[in-house]
C-alpha cells in the first residue's frame, strides 16, 4: 500500500537524477514538483482556514449562548457552517491528505540515497520504468558532503553544520509568516490557544534544527527547499506577514494583537468581526512600545 506512494516518488527522483546528473538538483526539483502538486490542497486549506477565522466571532457568540447545552451548540454550529457554505473539515482534511505525501517524499529521498545495505536492497524493484538500474547507487557526494550522513563531523565537513542552521532559520521564517494574527481575549492578553501557537513558532524551528543534526544532509536540503517553497507561496499570495516577522512598528491605530500590512485579510463590511476587533485593539493599545515607554521617562 505504502509502495503506491513511495515507488513513483523514488522513480521520479531517479529520472530527475538521470536528467540533471546531480542528486541535489534532483531533490530540489522533486520537492518543488510535489509541493506544486499539493498546491490545490494548500489553497483549499488556506481558504477554509480564513473562512473559519471570519466566523469566529459568531461562533463565540454561539458558545456563550449555548454554553450549558452542548448538543444544541453543535447543532447551531453546523447550521452556521451550512449557512456560510463552510465545510468544517475543509481546513484539516487537506492537511491530513498531505501527511502521507509528505512522509512519502521524505522516505523517497531516504530510499533513493540508499546509504546502507538494507536501504539499497529495498531500492530494488521500486523503479516503475526501465533503464534506471545503471544509475544506482546515486552519487551522494555534493560539495564534499556525504548526503546520506548527518552533517556532524567527522562524517561530514564542519561547514555542513550550516544546513541544520538553515533548516532552523527557514522553519522559523516560515512559522512566523504563516502564523495567523494572535487574537486577544477581553483582558487584552493572548488567549491560551494563541499563546500555544506563539510558543510553537519558537519551539518548532529549534526542534527541526535539532532533528536535522541527526538526519542526513540530503533530508536537510529537502527541509530547506520545502520551507522556502512555503515562504514563496505565502508571499506570492500576499499571505506572508513580513512586517510582523521583521518586528516593524505597526501603523497608528493598530493594536499589538492585530496584523498589519498587505497580508491582512479584509473582513466584509457587514461582518460582526470588525467592531469586536476594534474593541480588542483598543484594549491592547497601551501595550505598544511607545505607550509603555512614556511612564518610564
Amino acid at each position: 500500500m505504502w509502495d503506491l506512494i513511495l515507488n513513483p516518488f523514488v522513480t521520479v527522483i531517479t529520472v530527475l537524477y538521470s536528467i540533471f546528473g546531480n542528486v541535489v538538483v534532483a531533490i530540489i526539483i522533486f520537492t518543488i514538483l510535489v509541493r506544486l502538486l499539493m498546491y490545490p490542497l494548500n489553497i483549499q486549506q488556506m481558504r477554509s482556514s480564513k473562512a473559519m477565522q471570519a466566523l469566529q466571532p459568531e461562533l463565540k457568540k454561539l458558545q456563550e449562548k449555548y454554553k450549558n447545552d452542548r448538543e444544541k451548540l453543535a447543532q447551531e454550529q453546523m447550521a452556521l457552517y451550512r449557512q456560510h457554505g463552510i465545510n468544517p473539515l475543509g481546513g484539516c482534511l487537506p492537511l491530513l491528505i498531505q501527511f502521507p505525501i509528505w512522509i512519502g517524499l521524505y522516505q523517497a529521498i531516504n530510499h533513493a540515497l540508499a546509504a546502507t545495505p538494507l536501504q539499497l536492497i529495498d531500492l530494488g524493484g521500486r523503479f516503475l520504468v526501465g533503464g534506471l538500474d545503471h544509475l544506482v547507487p546515486l552519487n551522494n557526494v555534493w560539495l564534499g558532503m556525504d548526503l546520506t550522513q548527518p552533517p556532524t563531523p567527522p562524517t561530514n565537513p564542519v561547514f555542513a553544520l550550516a544546513l541544520p542552521l538553515l533548516v532552523l532559520v527557514t522553519t522559523w521564517v516560515q512559522s512566523k509568516l504563516i502564523t495567523p494574527p494572535t487574537p486577544s481575549g477581553e483582558d487584552g492578553q493572548p488567549n491560551q490557544a494563541a499563546a500555544m501557537t506563539q510558543s510553537m513558532t519558537t519551539i518548532m524551528p529549534i526542534m527541526m534544527g535539532f532533528f536535522s543534526l541527526s538526519f542526513s544532509v540530503g533530508l536537510s536540503i529537502y527541509f530547506v527547499v520545502s520551507n522556502l517553497f512555503t515562504i514563496a507561496q505565502y508571499s506570492l499570495q500576499g499571505q506572508a506577514d513580513w512586517r510582523r516577522l521583521l518586528r516593524l512598528k505597526k501603523p497608528d491605530g493598530e493594536g499589538a494583537d492585530t496584523v498589519s500590512g498587505t497580508a491582512r485579510p479584509k473582513k466584509p463590511a457587514d461582518s460582526p468581526a470588525r467592531p469586536e476587533k476594534k474593541a480588542a485593539d483598543k484594549t491592547t493599545q497601551p501595550k505598544s512600545k511607545t505607550q509603555r515607554a512614556k511612564p518610564a521617562k
Binding site: 486549506q45 452542548r70 451548540l73 512522509i103 545503471h134
Partner: protein, 408 residues
C-alpha cells in the same frame, strides 16, 4: 457512552482548532516525521558471520556485539583458563565470549590474524584487536583508522600480514596487521561494501561504482579495472582460473584474470550475493527470488532457473550434497534439488522449507562434522535480522531444527 452530537461537537472543535492553528498541525506533522520517518537506525545491515578454527565456532558481529557461538549447542562459548577450566565471574557464573561496545556498531565480520588474535572493526571505522582465547580487547577504546571518512560494512580480509578493508567512502585500505597502520590506500569512485577476493597476490575488489578492480595486494597498484555495467555490492567468486560476479546490470559475468569479459548471462533482476561455483556449475540468485544454475564450462549456459521465492534472495546459495539452499527476505530457508532446482520434499511429502522470525540477508553457513566438532551430521546455520533469532541451526538433511541463538 458519549452522545453522538457531543462527540461530533468535540471532533469539530479539534478540527476547528487545527484549521485555525495550522502551525500546531505542522508541528504534529514534524513529530510524526521525526518519530516515524527518522533516519534509518544504525541497525542497517545484517550480521557478519565467520567460522573460526577447527571447532568451527561461529563468530557473530551484529549491532553492538561480537559473540562466539558453539555450533554444537548454539550457546555462547565459555571462556576457559590455561588449565582448560571454565572461568567464573564474581557471582560464580561462567564468563562468556562476548564483547559489547555500547557506543559502536559492528556489521563486518572480524578477521582472524595469524597470531591468534582477531581484528574487528566498527561501522565508524574503529579497530579492535581481540585476544581470541580470552576475548580481551587489547587496545582498550579502539584505534580509529586515521584520515579516512566513511563507514565499514564490508567484512575484513586478512592475508600475508595485511588486513584489507573496503570503506563506504570509496577507499580500499591495506592495514598492517601488527600495528594497524595504513600500508596503502586505493580509491574507487563509490563505496566498497564487500570483502575483497585475494588470489595469488592479486586483490579483486568490487565497487558500487560499476567497476571490478584488480590490484597488487602488496602495493595497491591498479592492475586493471573493468566496467561491469552496474553496482556490484559483493565480491567475485573464483574458480578454474576465472572470476564470476553478478551486478545490478542484471547480469552475471565470467571474467578472465586479465580483466576481459568472457561470457555474460542475463538475469531477471539485480544480483547481490556472490555466486557459488561448485563442480563447474555456477549458482546465483537475484533480488526477485530467482535462482540460477549455469554451466561455466559451456559459456554460462543455463542449466536451470527457478523462481524459489517471491522476495529478494541476497545470500550466496549454499551448495551441499544434493542440495542448493537459498534464504530469502521472505524469512524462509528453501531446499532445492541441485539437479533441476525443484523443491526438495520432506518425509511427509511437503516442500522442504523453514520459516524464521525475520528476513534473511546473511550468507548461510555449513558446519561439517570433524574431530573437534562433535555433531552427528552437517548443520546449516542461518542468520536473521530478528534479535531473537540471530542464528538458527538445522540439519542439512531434512532440515531438523537444532537450536536458536538470540542477542536480546
Amino acid at each position: 457512552m458519549i452522545p453522538f452530537p457531543i462527540l461530533r461537537s468535540n471532533v469539530l472543535n479539534i478540527v476547528k482548532f487545527l484549521s485555525r492553528h495550522r502551525l500546531i498541525g505542522a508541528a504534529i506533522l514534524s513529530v510524526v516525521l521525526a518519530a516515524g520517518c527518522g533516519p534509518a537506525p544504525l541497525g542497517t545491515s545484517w550480521a557478519g558471520l565467520r567460522v573460526i578454527g577447527e571447532e568451527q565456532h561461529i563468530l557473530v558481529a551484529f549491532n553492538d556485539r561480537l559473540a562466539l557461538v558453539d555450533p554444537v549447542d548454539g550457546k555462547t562459548v565459555k571462556l576457559r583458563n590455561q588449565e582448560g577450566e571454565i572461568r567464573l565471574d564474581d557471582q560464580g557464573n561462567p564468563r562468556l565470549w562476548e564483547i559489547k561496545q555500547n557506543a559502536n556498531q559492528f556489521f563486518a565480520a572480524p578477521a582472524p590474524l595469524d597470531d591468534g588474535r582477531l581484528l574487528a572493526v566498527t561501522y565508524n571505522q574503529v579497530l579492535y584487536t581481540i585476544d581470541l582465547p580470552t576475548a580481551r580487547v587489547e587496545n582498550g577504546s579502539g584505534t580509529p583508522i586515521p584520515n579516512h571518512n566513511g563507514h565499514i560494512v564490508a567484512d575484513l580480509l586478512e592475508g600475508d600480514g595485511l588486513v584489507y578493508a573496503g570503506l563506504s567512502s570509496k577507499n580500499l585500505l591495506a592495514l598492517d596487521a601488527e600495528d594497524l597502520s595504513v600500508v596503502w590506500t586505493a580509491q574507487t569512485e563509490h563505496g566498497i561494501w564487500s570483502k575483497p577476493l585475494l588470489v595469488d597476490d592479486v586483490l579483486y575488489a568490487a565497487s558500487l561504482d560499476h567497476y571490478l578492480y584488480a590490484l597488487d595486494a602488496r602495493t595497491g597498484d591498479l592492475l586493471w579495472k573493468l566496467d561491469i555495467e552496474g553496482a556490484a555490492p559483493s565480491a567475485p567468486a573464483y574458480a578454474n582460473g576465472r572470476l564470476y560476479i553478478g551486478s545490478f546490470a542484471r547480469k552475471i559475468f565470467e571474467i578472465s584474470r586479465q580483466g576481459q569479459i568472457l561470457n555474460t548471462y542475463d538475469t531477471v533482476d539485480w544480483v547481490w550475493g556472490a555466486p557459488a561455483v561448485v563442480d563447474g556449475i555456477l549458482y546465483a540468485a537475484d533480488l526477485v527470488g530467482n535462482v540460477y544454475a549455469l554451466d561455466t564450462t559451456d559459456g554460462l549456459r543455463e542449466i536451470w532457473r527457478v523462481k524459489a521465492s517471491e522476495m529478494s534472495i541476497r545470500p550466496t546459495p549454499l551448495v551441499a550434497g544434493d542440495y542448493v539452499l537459498v534464504a530469502s527476505r521472505d524469512q524462509r530457508l528453501y531446499w532445492l534439488k541441485r539437479s533441476d532446482g525443484s523443491m526438495v520434499m520432506d518425509n511427509e511429502g511437503r516442500p522442504l522449507l523453514r520459516e524464521m522470525q525475520g528476513p534473511i540477508f546473511s550468507d548461510i553457513l555449513l558446519i561439517e562434522p570433524n574431530e573437534k566438532t562433535d555433531i552427528p551430521g552437517p548443520y546449516v546455520i542461518v542468520s536473521t535480522l530478528s534479535p531473537g533469532q540471530i542464528l538458527v541451526a538445522y540439519t542439512l538433511e531434512q532440515g531438523r531444527f537444532l537450536w536458536t541463538y538470540s542477542m536480546q
